[in-house]
């Protein structure tokens, strides 16, 4: 990516059937998936039959009855892959998994407000909105309107049975002074065969095969948006 992000996130989200109560940090230590030092400094929010949530130096984990959400903002992102595959390939291989999301998001600065506004208008021009489009601009900087959120979808994908890539772009709430852009990629995979979704094998094979590729592709897409700063 041509611009170094101010916030960089990768998440791996699984949809299936989970028992949140077992996902205590100690369980990960006992099974060699996280080490004692990481867990001793962990921030344990809650471990309950309905939800488990804790954070370590590099990991945010939240487990609900139908979702397993693992997030990191610290490279190398491969740690996330190793944690998830270790959990569901080795120890919980009978967990029914149906869907997988490998998600990448960044917040980056474009250095000045004018550039951000220009990019917003390239992605979502005001002219097609007619008379109302003229009103969007607003009379003052404080009341200027424009692009809030734009989502594009790609469905024609040869690397999966079923799924899509969603890309969402909008102004960043993290980068200060209204000069930031936020891009989020949701790379979504589904297992269509009911039998194959009764365990973890199908989804784990997809995850292992696609993780690095997905991250690279997401960063390539993000770079397309970053490239608008030069146009």
């Amino acid at each position: 990516m041509r611009i170094e992000p101010e916030l960089s996130t990768v998440s791996c989200v699984l949809l299936g059937s989970f028992n949140p109560a077992i996902f205590h940090p100690a369980w990960f230590v006992v099974n060699g998936l996280l080490n004692r030092t990481e867990i001793d400094a962990a921030d344990i929010k809650l471990v309950h039959r309905e939800i488990a949530a804790f954070s370590t130096e590099w990991l945010d984990l939240q487990v609900e009855p139908t979702r397993f959400i693992s997030v990191t903002q610290e490279a190398p992102f491969i740690r996330l892959l190793d944690l998830v595959t270790g959990t569901f390939d080795e120890y919980l291989s009978h967990t029914p998994l149906k869907m997988l999301g490998i998600n990448r998001s960044v917040h980056f600065s474009v250095d000045d407000e004018g550039t951000r506004n220009r990019i917003g208008k390239m992605l979502a021009p005001h002219e097609p909105w007619g008379e109302w489009g003229k009103m969007i601009e607003g009379g003052t900087r404080e009341k200027r309107g424009g692009l809030r959120s734009l989502t594009m979808e790609q469905r024609d994908l040869v690397d999966r049975e079923k799924g899509f890539i969603l890309v969402k772009v909008g102004p960043s709430s993290i980068v200060k002074s209204e000069i930031g852009i936020f891009v989020e990629i949701n790379d979504h995979y589904e297992v269509t065969d009911t039998d194959r979704s009764q365990g973890t094998q199908a989804i784990m094979e997809i995850l292992k095969r696609q993780f690095d590729t997905s991250i690279k592709r997401s960063e390539w897409i993000i770079d397309q948006v970053m490239g608008l700063t030069e146009k």
């Binding site: 990481e38 939800i51 740690r79 190793d82 270790g86």
Partner: protein, 176 residues
């Protein structure tokens, strides 16, 4: 969703505590010989429970980010040798999408965390990333990070699949 869950748990706890308190008050009132000096309350007074003392504050969907580390360059490597102060490794440049190891480098053991030192052994696979760590406060520092991969042992299923594939290939080769 989490807020309503916490309220449900709190309500259950409050009702249990209230029922227990009522039972204690009844017991105390009945057993006291001085109880006749007091008017029997027609309405028991409850001590309100401070729910904020029972549960932590509701959790945001994701914690506020404290720091983020983006890799400018990343390699995957495996350990060739280990000495008293360094280990050597062969590396594949992932950022340049190389397919073969092209570099060999020595790393100081002092660069490894205590937990990663335990993972250090011949053949161990790791990722090495260099880049910038940014904090929420706006500071930025260049860092280098080595992380050993926690790769699972071959599962029975994988061994069986590999064995089956090897047999298929052997049959094809013999056939040729």
């Amino acid at each position: 969703m989490h807020g309503s869950l916490l309220c449900d748990i709190a309500d259950d706890t409050f009702e249990a505590k209230r029922d227990w308190s009522l039972a204690q008050e009844e017991k105390q009132y009945d057993s006291s010989s001085e109880s006749r000096q007091y008017d029997r309350p027609t309405k028991l007074e409850y001590q309100p429970i401070d729910l904020s003392q029972l549960f932590p504050p509701p959790r945001r969907q994701r914690r506020e980010f404290q720091s983020t580390f983006s890799a400018l360059q990343e390699w995957e490597g495996y350990v060739l040798s280990v000495s008293a102060e360094t280990f050597s490794a062969r590396l594949i440049d992932l950022t340049e999408c190389k397919e073969y190891e092209e570099e060999e480098i020595d790393f100081p053991l002092a660069d490894l965390s205590d937990s990663d030192l335990k993972e250090l052994r011949l053949g161990a696979i790791f990722r090495w990333a260099i880049g910038y760590r940014r904090t929420r406060g706006g500071t930025k520092e260049r860092i280098s990070k080595v992380v050993f991969r926690r790769l699972p042992a071959w599962t029975k299923r994988e061994l069986e699949n590999n064995r089956r594939k090897a047999e298929e290939w052997a049959i094809r080769l013999v056939g040729e």
